[in-house]
Symmetry: C2
Subunit: 296 residues, 2 copies
C-alpha cells in the first residue's frame, strides 16, 4: 500500500501576503505533495498548511518551507495572539495511510535532525516523537513562548533535542512532532471582553472538567474587535464538532454573549461530523458513501 | 468532459435474495458502469439500484436488468406496500456530469423505445422525458397501480408511449424517465397505527402546505410491526434532510409517537446535508474539501 502522511506546518506570518505566498510556494515545489488546505489569520499572525503525500516528499516540502521561512521571517519582531517559539513554529506529522506511528516518529526525528544540522535551528521533538516525557505535550514545549525560551534555552531542562542551545537569529526554534489526527476549531464570540473567552475556554477544557480531548485558549481578535475561543480536539471520536459547539452555545447563553462564527483550521476527519448526522437523522447507516458527490 | 449519468432502476422484488442477486448481477455485467448503492426492502418488496457511468453503458445496464427481471419476476403475483406497475417499475435517469437534461431525455426515450420494441414491455415516459404533460408526474403515471392499469391500458388516456396497449405477461409495464436529483428518505415510526403515518405524510407534503418539494406516503411495515413515512424530496436545496426530520419529530411528538429510525434509499447530494452543518456550527465555510477522508 502506498504510504501517505499528513504534515501541518504552522508558521508565524499571517499578515504579509507576499511573504506568506513565497513560503507556501516553497513547500509546493516538491513533486507528489498536495497542498490540500491553507489557513491564514491576521490576529494570530500565523498561517497553517495541510500537506499530504508520500513521506519523503512531504518531509522535503516541510524542509523547504522552513528554509524559506527562516529567510523571510524575523521572529524577534513577531507579534501575534497565538503562542509561538519560531518562524516555523511547529511541524506535526500524522500517519494517514500505509504507515504506523513508529514510522511517522522516525520521519519527524529525521527531519528534525536535518533542520538542526543544515539550518542551525534548534529542534524540540514533541508528541509521539518526543525523546523526553515532559516534552510530549506541545504546550509544555512552548510554555512562555519565544521570550521565555530565549531566557531559558541554556538551562538543562530546555536544551533542544537536536542542535545547539542557541536560538536561530531569525527563525528562533521549531517543534517537530508526530501525533494522531487533531482538529483545530475556532469559535468567534460577539464581544470584546477577553475574560468571557477565557471563561468559556476554561470550562470546555478537559483538564478543568469540560469535554474529553479538548484543549482551549481565549484570544482577542483585534482586527475584528471580538474575542475567540481557539480549540484543539484530540479525541474526535469522543468529542465531535457538534458537541463543542453545543457546549459553547450553552455557556455563551449563560454569559449572554452570542456566537458570531466558527472556522475549521486544516481538515477534519469524517468521524468528527458524520456520527452526529446519523444520530440526529436516526439513520440506520450513514457514511460518505451515501453522498453522491464522493463519486464524481 | 466525460459524460456521467445516474440511473436508479426500481424493481419489484425485495424478498427473494436469489432473484434479487441475479437481477443485480445482470446490470453489473456492463463495463464502465458502477453500482454505487443498493437498497432492498421486504415490506416494500422492492429493490433500488444506483448505477453511474457513461450514458450508453448505463442504458445498456438498465436494459439487461429489465430483461432479467422480466424473466424472473411475475408481476401478477407481486405484493408490496409500494405502488408499482411492473417487474421493473421505474427507470429514472439523472444527468450528473458533462450532459444536460435534453441529452438525458434522449437517453431515456431511446431506452424506452428499445424496451418496447425488443422486450415487448409497454413503456410510459415520465418526468422531463414525458411526451404528454399529464405524464410528467410519476404518481399520475402509476395511479391505481398495476391492477388499475390492467383495466385501463386499452383506453386512449392510458395508451403507452412506446409499445402496444397490452401489458407484458410477466413484466407488466415500465415507467422510464429523466429528472433532476431526488432524495428518497424513509422514516420509521414506533407504532402499528397506519393512520399516524398517513397523518404525518399528509402534513409534510408540499401540496398540503408542508415543506417545499416534499412528497410523502404512509405505509405499513408488517415485517417490523411498525409504520413508515416514505418521502421523496425533489428540492433538496430548499428542504434538507434535517428539515424533514425536524418536521416529522415535531409532528410525532404532538401525536405522542416516537421515531424509531430512518434510511436513505440511494444517494444524497452533499447539499442535502452540508448547509445544515455549516449553519449549526456557524462555520464561515464548509464543504467536503474540509473532510480529510475525501483525499484518501
Amino acid at each position: 500500500m502506498k504510504k501517505i502522511v499528513e504534515c501541518i506546518p504552522n508558521f508565524s506570518e499571517g499578515r504579509d501576503i507576499g511573504k506568506i505566498s513565497h513560503i507556501v510556494e516553497a513547500a509546493k515545489t516538491v513533486e507528489g505533495v498536495s497542498l490540500i488546505d491553507f489557513h491564514s489569520d491576521a490576529d494570530h499572525n500565523r498561517s497553517v498548511l495541510t500537506l499530504i503525500g508520500p513521506p519523503k516528499a512531504v518531509s522535503e516540502a516541510a524542509y523547504r518551507l522552513i528554509e524559506k521561512a527562516a529567510e523571510l521571517i524575523d521572529i524577534k519582531k513577531h507579534e501575534g495572539v497565538h503562542p509561538f517559539i519560531g518562524a516555523v513554529d511547529v511541524i506535526p506529522f500524522v500517519p494517514l495511510k500505509g504507515m504506523d506511528m513508529k514510522e511517522t516518529v522516525e520521519l519527524a526525528r529525521s527531519l528534525g535532525d536535518r533542520i538542526a544540522h543544515d539550518l542551525k535551528i534548534p529542534v524540540y521533538l514533541y508528541g509521539e516523537a518526543a525523546l523526553h516525557p515532559e516534552r510530549k505535550n506541545l504546550a509544555d514545549v512552548r510554555r512562555g513562548g519565544f521570550g521565555k525560551l530565549a531566557e531559558e534555552i541554556k538551562s538543562k531542562e530546555r536544551h533542544p533535542d537536536y542542535g545547539e542551545a542557541k536560538l536561530h537569529e531569525r527563525a528562533g526554534a521549531v517543534a517537530v512532532g508526530a501525533r494522531d489526527f487533531l482538529i483545530a476549531f475556532n469559535v468567534n464570540l460577539e464581544t470584546k471582553d477577553l475574560t468571557i473567552a477565557h471563561d468559556i475556554a476554561k470550562s470546555i477544557r478537559e483538564k478543568h472538567g469540560g469535554l474529553p480531548g479538548v484543549k482551549a485558549i481565549g484570544v482577542p481578535l483585534q482586527s475584528k474587535g471580538i474575542v475567540q475561543v481557539s480549540i484543539n480536539i484530540t479525541e474526535h471520536r469522543k468529542t465531535g464538532l457538534y458537541d463543542v459547539m453545543s457546549f459553547i452555545k450553552d455557556r455563551a447563553d449563560e454569559l449572554e454573549v452570542k456566537v458570531r462564527s466558527s472556522e475549521i483550521v486544516g481538515l477534519i476527519p469524517k468521524d468528527a461530523i458524520f456520527p452526529k448526522i446519523r444520530e440526529y437523522l436516526n439513520l440506520e447507516d450513514f457514511s460518505e458513501r451515501k453522498i453522491l458527490n464522493s463519486y464524481l
